[in-house]
């Protein structure tokens, strides 16, 4: 067997992917057992083995695992994976580690799209909803996210170079603008719509069901599966857009695909669980420290760790104030905001403050 070459971290990355997969499986099983009706890991495993229509197991426990917790856990995992992957792609595209769909206004744009579906669904957007049905809300969230990502890119990038300061400031402006739009919609909304909006904003993952999962799940799955094709291009673009072109990357095509996938992932995640910040910034950064910056292992690893992180946050959200629930965004922000500040202070020279 040949010796590992110094500076080649592909083996570390492969080992990391293996560990993360096992950790995700473990956290998912534990998470299935946690809640008002606590189940041991052994019970969870035997219920899983028996299948959703088993009659050998207590019917209540089968229902809790398969109908109540399973869709929620799949949803948490997919949302976490989508947000982490969207963060990593945005950071690669903007060539800096501080981009996050929540921070730079992409999530706010998606939220505006979602809220407009709730408020205008009976009037202006009624024909759209008639065609797309349950997919109307994720679609509008996607369009909102897409519009913000494109605007952000146009503002922050000149001649292939992105100014980090401009990007963060433009993100603040975009977020404020989208929030104002959302505010206007809330102002004109009816009592019932207001309830729906509040429920959706704070909802987190509490309303998860197989039916909801069937709408957004496949979209998030699609992005997670498709995103590794960006790996080579994102690696090259780390050197700069001109350099990526010199290396043979079709830069414009790659950027378009990247923006499309980020908007799709963020739109689907926001549509199902509201705005959950900081997952997209914490996860890629930790992984780059641990296993290197090569995007080919990094993107799948982000999906795995993002899923783990959100499952853990969801478990915390469900247990801290049990039997009530904390909105999951509060947990991720409590962890993520100090982390972001720490990164910001560490990289002050990079962003020219």
């Amino acid at each position: 067997m040949d010796l590992a070459v110094e500076g080649d971290r592909s083996r570390t990355a492969a080992a990391g992917l293996l560990w993360l997969s096992m950790a995700l499986a473990a956290v998912a099983v534990i998470s299935l057992g946690v809640g008002p009706a606590g189940l041991s890991v052994g019970r969870v495993l035997s219920i899983l083995m028996a299948g959703p229509h088993s009659t050998d197991q207590p019917i209540g426990e089968v229902l809790i695992v398969w109908q109540v917790r399973m869709p929620r856990i799949l949803m948490a995992a997919l949302v976490g994976a989508s947000l982490a992957v969207a963060g990593a792609v945005l950071q690669g595209l903007f060539r800096n580690p501080l981009a996050d769909p929540g921070l730079v206004g992409v999530s706010s744009g998606a939220a505006l799209g979602a809220v407009s579906t709730i408020v205008l669904g009976n009037t202006i957007l009624a024909p759209m909803l008639a065609i797309f049905g349950a997919y109307g809300l994720p679609l509008m969230a996607f369009l909102g996210g897409l519009a913000s990502t494109i605007v952000l890119y146009l503002i922050a990038t000149r001649q292939g170079r992105t100014s980090v300061a401009t990007m963060l400031l433009a993100g603040i402006a975009l977020g404020a603008f989208a929030a104002a739009g959302t505010g206007v919609l809330i102002y004109i909304s009816s009592e019932q719509q207001l309830r729906d909006i509040t429920f959706w904003t704070l909802g987190g993952l509490s309303g998860s069901s197989w039916a909801k999962l069937a709408v957004s799940g496949p979209i998030m799955m699609l992005v997670i599966i498709a995103v590794p094709v960006l790996g080579r291009g994102l690696n090259a673009i780390v050197l700069g857009e001109a350099e990526a072109f010199h290396l043979g990357v079709s830069v414009q095509r790659m950027k378009r695909l990247a923006i499309f996938l980020v908007a799709l992932a963020t739109g689907a995640a926001v549509a199902t669980s509201g705005v959950i910040g900081f997952v997209g910034i914490v996860v890629p950064h930790l992984l780059r420290l641990g296993m290197g910056a090569d995007h080919r292992p990094l993107l799948p690893a982000c999906a795995l760790l993002g899923a783990i992180l959100l499952l853990l946050a969801d478990m915390a959200a469900r247990t801290i104030v049990s039997p009530a629930e904390l909105p999951i965004g509060i947990i991720t922000a409590l962890l993520g905001a100090p982390f972001f500040l720490w990164m910001l202070l560490k990289q002050r020279n990079l962003i020219d403050l």
């Binding site: 070459v5 700069g240 043979g248 290197g292 910056a293």
Partner: protein, 265 residues
């Protein structure tokens, strides 16, 4: 062979290149020199396909560059940028291996071996595991040279010459590495590759160029062997200073900036 036919480029209303025609041949080390703002970097951008000219056309082996895909171009030519900042923690080996990403025929071990050899060529043996961001500017420049050498592969592949473009490859280097870098460039040209380098140091240009293109205000002012091209008139016409050109016994021209400094004193 690369060919520019009557190429003009403007940024806004400001003309950068007008009516430039030339050919870049394989087997020759071509050096482009000229004052700041003469259009050297723009010529490089047009030749590498990065910038489409406003009028005129750029060709590679008879094909218009606008009709070639980035991947097809990357297989035949490599470009060394002036500098590249990395915002993520890549190791030196990983940066160098980026030059091999399009080579799907290579195993992971083969990539590592080629990358290590390239690092040796640019005098960076043992740097593979270091973080790129922690290197000095000159070391970073040589890391990119190693990367570009990886992308280039052999000077001639399947009987067809490869091309390499170097944008001020010596700008951050000490004198020893300035010379070793240009020796690599000359070696590639001798082995059949086409090499074009933008250089500001006229002494290095005179010492290494087979052909010197001197630009002024978006046009070619002179084109030929440094021995014929580098004259007192050229220096004063193009750079606007009365610097005398001296000659070694071999006939190689040189300039001494000290002679001007002496006059001022």
């Amino acid at each position: 062979m690369f060919e520019l036919r009557d190429v003009s480029v403007s940024f806004g209303s400001r003309p950068i290149l007008h009516g430039l025609s030339t050919r870049i041949e394989p087997g020759v080390l071509t050096v482009v020199a000229g004052p700041n703002g003469a259009g050297k970097s723009t010529v490089l951008k047009v030749l590498t396909g990065e910038l489409a000219p406003d009028s005129g056309e750029a060709f590679f082996e008879g094909r218009s560059l606008t009709k070639m895909t980035p991947a097809a171009m990357a297989a035949r030519r490599a470009v060394l940028p002036q500098s590249a900042q990395l915002s993520f923690p890549f190791t030196v080996l990983e940066v160098v291996r980026l030059g091999l990403e399009t080579r799907h025929d290579l195993t992971s071990d083969a990539r590592n071996q080629i990358a290590l050899k390239s690092l040796e060529r640019v005098d960076l043996s043992g740097f593979g595991g270091r973080h790129y961001q922690q290197l000095s500017g000159g070391e970073q420049q040589r890391v990119h040279l190693a990367r570009v050498l990886c992308q280039l592969g052999e000077p001639v592949v399947d009987g067809r010459p490869q091309f390499i473009f170097l944008d001020e490859p010596t700008s951050s280097l000490d004198i020893r590495h300035q010379i070793s870098t240009l020796e690599i460039a000359r070696g590639l040209a001798r082995a059949g590759a086409g090499v074009l380098a933008i250089l500001h140091d006229l002494n290095l240009a005179a010492a290494f160029a087979d052909r010197l293109l001197v630009m002024r205000a978006g046009q070619l002012y002179a084109d030929g062997h440094p021995r014929e091209v580098m004259t007192d008139t050229l220096i004063s016409d193009v750079f606007g200073i009365p610097l005398r050109v001296g000659h070694l016994p071999t006939g190689m021209p040189y300039i001494l900036p000290q002679t001007l400094a002496g006059m001022a004193a």
